[in-house]
Symmetry: C2
Subunit: 343 residues, 2 copies
């Protein structure tokens, strides 16, 4: 059914002829073709909620860059929005929630929605993408991890420390647990909706995992991730907890297929911590792609050799930055595709 | 000479009757007495450069909170300023450099200054503090680590990713090394100036260490830290590389007395990585201090037991946040002072 299923086989631990490659945020500002559609959409939120446009930018990197998977163009903040907390996107400043949730009383405004209704535009986009891809490569669905959504919903915007979110873990753990549970329920329903619409694998992004420590992560966050992994059995699940090196072993113990790594997590260290039974994804520093082609090729090859030829999905250690040159991205992808692992 | 030298003995690995305690950013916005002097000073930079005022806020936490050391009130950005790159402090937004250094050509504007001249107000403040303290507790001097200053000097302001700084490591390593060397030379001269004026120990803050990985940290950053540790032999040196768990072993291999830990670095993990011959400093999550007194006491005791009674200097895992209640800070300090380690 799929012409190129490298990434699914790698996720399942099956043998691959070469390492598959995709990029986080590949459907985004690096491509002038994306910027044209973004302009046509008028606003970021309109782009996210219009299935035809979201589908178009989802497929662009497959056509233009030759990656081994498409990832649905969307935003992790559609989930809080569906729960009753709409966000606004301030141009050049990132997302912001005019209202926040910081107490048991605030929780009354937050519900576990009927996602098929509230997020109807997502399965609609997935169906269009699947039609257009026509089996060329798999489609990755995604959601924000409950902790990362918790950060935004309590803090109201991005933060270097997320101290409002963190303080609630100590100052009001009952509230924190209740909000985390509600987000987790919604996330599971949302991922199931994506799977039913046709995504071939899913990734859960815990972008702000790194502001916690092993003890709080284990207490407040891991239980929700466990529920998600146990609920999504139809397709491989990737967990990517950025900067959460202290929780890598806990994450690897969950029933996920793939563990995503940021660039600080050395491949050999990660393999030792994770063990042989999970696929690793990552993890080149995106800043390498600003360098000349020879440097990109050298650093990419160093990464590939450190991971080895099997049980690895090549990617950056974080989303590609919007001002990274497309030529640098191409050089990275081509290097992965052409790399000869010493057998 | 010193009535309370607990912190110096702990740093040198000598036996202490109880764990010493101080807080990063203790001389700051948590105290209303600080805010009064800050208002009197007119601007932050005026407060930093007026020895009488800087000395006054340096001593406040000793009088008010009963910490076991004073830390000089100053800013890490006085060093780039002395090198030819003045900073401005935008109220509520943090520091900003109107000009930045991003190429070999830009380096022409940057020099290794005569620190005794350019930073004359620092030894002046140190002498006033020492007089006023009159041996009650030690005085800690400090500087930003070269990499953290490099981040600000190339980026021009704070950043979540410091991608401008990082890209230069890959795209222009000759420039990066040259700038790092120049910052390191200035930092060594600056710390020697502080030691000559009377500080009893020094701490080097690598606040943005965590945006790198083991390989780049080892290549570009560790050599400068090594030079600093080797140059400052008169007093104990603490290295605090926030979020740089991947470099903890490299740092512990340098001739420093104390390794500072952020809250993600578990005390027992750190002791194993660092070995027995270094003192550990840290590392309670500052957000614990927002909670009720019983929670603060419980979490502080948990931390103290994890570190054990010797070779530990109690602190938070980062600077105290400006809106943390003074009562929470007191409870933390008092819990450390009263803690009975199971012998």
């Amino acid at each position: 059914m799929l012409t190129n299923d490298l990434i699914l086989r790698a996720a399942r631990g099956e043998r691959v002829e070469r390492t598959p490659v995709w990029l986080m945020r590949q459907a985004g500002r690096i491509l002038k073709e994306y910027r044209a559609v973004r302009e046509q959409a008028g606003s970021f939120i309109n782009l996210v909620t219009t299935p035809e446009l979201a589908a178009e930018v989802t497929i662009q990197p497959v056509d233009i860059l030759g990656v081994d998977a498409a990832i649905l163009f969307s935003d992790i903040l559609v989930v809080p929005e569906a729960m009753g907390l709409p966000y606004v996107m301030d141009e050049g400043k990132g997302p912001r929630f005019p209202e926040v949730v910081r107490s048991m009383d605030d929780l009354k405004r937050i519900h576990v929605p009927d996602v098929a209704d509230a997020l109807h535009y997502v399965p609609a986009a997935i169906k269009l993408v699947k039609q257009d891809l026509n089996g060329r490569v798999p489609l990755i669905g995604f959601a924000g991890a409950p902790w990362t959504l918790f950060c935004y919903m309590t803090e109201g915007k991005g933060s270097k420390t997320f101290s409002v979110a963190r303080r609630s873990l100590y100052a009001d753990p009952a509230f924190a647990t209740a909000l985390m549970d509600r987000i987790t329920d919604t996330t599971i329903a949302y991922l199931k909706l994506q799977v039913a619409a046709g995504v071939d694998m899913v990734q859960v992004f815990d972008s702000w995992a790194g502001v916690l420590d092993a003890h709080t992560y284990r207490t407040f966050v891991v239980p929700g991730l466990k529920r998600i992994c146990e609920a999504i059995t139809e397709v491989p699940v990737t967990l990517f907890a950025k900067d959460a090196w202290f929780a890598t072993a806990d994450i690897a113990a969950l029933p996920c297929a793939t563990v995503g790594l940021d660039w600080a997590q050395d491949p050999r260290w990660a393999r030792q911590v994770v063990g042989p039974d999970r696929t690793l994804q990552g993890n080149l520093d995106p800043c390498v792609l600003y360098a000349d082609g020879a440097t990109i090729a050298r650093e990419t090859a160093r990464m590939l050799d450190a991971f080895g030829p099997q049980r690895h999905i090549a990617n950056l250690g974080h989303g590609v930055y919007p001002d990274i040159p497309v030529d640098g991205v191409r050089r990275f992808i081509d290097t992965v595709k052409e790399h000869n692992h010493r057998k």
